[in-house]
């Protein structure tokens, strides 16, 4: 059972504010989902190396060379707030 306190702790770790509805519904939903996922424990996996990617690990070597990248202005354009060519953030002193 995942308690509401646990839900709030996980939300804090993930840097997420939850709505009151999410706070109420996530606890029973997470409990049901994680209960179902318990089935994984039935499989004996001792000495099995976890698989982290299905790709054939190929190494692509290249020279570490600087390239021109002239998109600075377009990138700054996307900022919620900007000042000249800088990203601007509100004061967060607390």
């Amino acid at each position: 059972m995942i308690s509401k306190e646990q839900i709030l702790k996980i939300a804090k770790l993930a840097r997420l504010n939850l709505t009151p509805e999410e706070e109420a519904s996530f606890s029973p939903q997470f409990s049901a989902i994680l209960d179902y996922f318990e089935q994984m424990s039935e499989v004996d996996t001792s000495d099995v190396l976890p698989m982290i990617t299905p790709t054939e690990m190929e190494f692509h070597w290249r020279e570490d060379q600087a390239k021109d990248w002239n998109m600075g202005k377009e990138v700054i354009e996307q900022a919620p707030e900007k000042s000249g060519n800088l990203f601007k953030v509100p004061p967060v002193v607390g």
């Binding site: 997420l16 919620p80 607390g94």
Partner: protein, 489 residues
């Protein structure tokens, strides 16, 4: 002239013979989107550059230049960055975001002369199986608007089904191309992991994500797969293997080929119309000369927990980048100043993400957190390896696996959205291919009694896509339904 139920190959021929210009064809699809997409909701945004691109393609055709998709209109899932065209991932978090570069997949399509019609709706950040998680509203199923289109590439599937694009690009992390393709009655192809560059595609789960086509025909899917595949120096997980000319090598005779049926898939409860279409598919492959064998994948019953642990863990890490600093949604701090840096992040992210995205970020955060890592993330990775070994053994006995895409045809809008676990269980037959990295394809076979499409799924071993196109074509030829459009379209 009508283009709505024509294949890409038919459209190419019309363009090459100069029977029609790309501008006329593009305008035809833009007009259809304008008049028919209002309640279908397949497109988030139509490109205002489409007619300019079509004009350029026409100039090239006039000048005798070649391109594998010269002048052909395509739709792009709004998860792929398109330079100068808003890319939202169907999230409030990215509303209004205009990328300064295009995904490699988009560049490859455009370098072959394709014309981008617009950006297609999806579940927010590709997280969902019904397209009901979109910030821009659900996509409806063109065959019956009370039903879901499937997800997450719901817009990509519905647009092809309704003749609002001849072909589209989707992405598939756990079935997001194949499942909506099946629900909407079109072909959906997820290539081998590493075939297609993920550069410029909004990341969900990096070890599972792969882009691919949704199309009217198997041959079209083969052509588009050829165009978008290949090594990309911007994605180190892409393979350096050469890309075969799949569309030119399709062999519909299946003599000497072995088609494997997964025992466990048929022991689960299948809807009668899914079972009926499976039975037809089995008859069809036998008719085409294939031998049918039974194989076992006992661990496939655990595909959902393994998949959701891997996918949510990777998502929690990938989506950490959305902090409201450099791009994306930012809360209003003028009215209520941030009390701390954490408060700044928590408000931006808490208001910018929808509930399903938050749920998945948090499941992943939990699976990776101290004390739970071994039981969840590590355990899932270990079972993933054992599952890959079972698939490898299965492919020693057969060339291709054939089975259902989902246990039921499309379900009604609203039916499953309130129960996340029930929604996750939709993905039982599709998630294994992503975990193992193998290619998978959904081919339309027929319709349920209610008139909803039903597809079958084909899977083969890594980098052997040709057999999917061969078997898919043999099935398509016998099912013979690809020209049909839903009523009203």
């Amino acid at each position: 002239m009508e283009f709505k139920n024509k294949s890409v190959f038919e459209l190419k021929e019309l363009l090459e013979k100069k029977t029609v210009t790309s501008v006329e064809m593009t305008k035809y699809f833009l007009d259809r989107i304008e008049s028919l997409d209002q309640d279908l909701n397949a497109y988030i945004q139509v490109s205002d550059k489409a007619l300019d691109e079509a004009k350029k393609a026409d100039d090239k055709i006039q000048a005798g230049e070649k391109g594998r998709l010269l002048g052909v209109p395509v739709g792009i899932k709004d998860l792929l960055c398109t330079r100068g065209i808003q890319t939202t991932a169907a999230s409030k978090m990215l509303e209004g975001f205009v990328p300064p570069y295009s995904a490699t997949v988009v560049e490859k399509l455009q370098s072959e002369g394709a014309v981008v019609l617009g950006k297609l709706n999806l579940d927010e950040f590709a997280m969902g199986s019904s397209n009901e998680n979109s910030y821009f509203g659900a996509v409806k199923n063109p065959w019956n608007k009370e039903y879901v289109s499937g997800g997450s590439s719901g817009g990509s599937a519905a647009a092809v089904a309704a003749g609002l694009a001849p072909v589209t690009i989707g992405t598939d992390t756990g079935g997001s191309i194949r499942q909506p393709a099946s629900f909407c009655g079109v072909v959906g192809m997820k290539p081998t992991y590493g075939r297609v560059s993920r550069y410029g595609i909004v990341a969900f789960a990096s070890s599972l994500d792969q882009a691919g086509p949704l199309s009217r025909t198997v041959k079209d899917a083969a052509l588009i797969s050829e165009v978008i595949s290949g090594f990309d120096e911007n994605d180190s997980t892409t393979s350096e293997r050469s890309v075969p000319q799949w569309s030119a090598s399709i062999n519909e005779s299946l003599k000497g080929k072995k088609v494997g049926l997964v025992k466990e898939y048929f022991e689960s409860k299948l809807h009668e119309s899914v079972q009926e279409q499976m039975d037809r598919a089995i008859e069809f492959v036998k008719e085409a000369g294939a031998e049918v064998v039974e194989v076992s994948l006992s661990l496939s019953r655990l595909a959902i927990p393994v998949y959701y642990m891997v996918a949510t863990s990777e998502a929690s890490s990938n989506l950490a980048r959305y902090d409201g600093v450099r791009y994306g949604y930012r809360s209003n701090f003028d009215e209520k100043p941030a009390s701390s840096l954490d408060d700044f992040y928590e408000r931006n992210r808490g208001e910018g993400f929808g509930s399903e995205v938050k749920r998945r970020i948090m499941l992943g955060t939990y699976a990776l957190s101290s004390g739970y890592y071994d039981a969840y993330y590590k355990k899932a990775g270990q079972i993933r390896r054992l599952l890959a070994e079972q698939f490898q053994k299965a492919f020693e006995k057969c060339d291709v696996l054939m089975g259902p895409v989902t246990a039921t045809p499309a379900f009604k809008l609203g039916d499953r959205i309130s129960d996340p676990l029930e929604m996750y269980l939709n993905d039982i037959f599709t998630t294994s291919a992503n975990l193992v990295g193998i290619p998978g394809m959904s081919v339309p076979m027929g319709f349920s009694k209610e008139g909803l499409p039903v597809g079958v799924q084909l899977m083969s071993s890594s980098f052997s896509e040709q057999v999917l196109f061969d078997v898919g074509s043999a099935l398509e030829q016998r099912a013979d339904i690809w020209k049909g459009l839903p009523n009203g379209y």
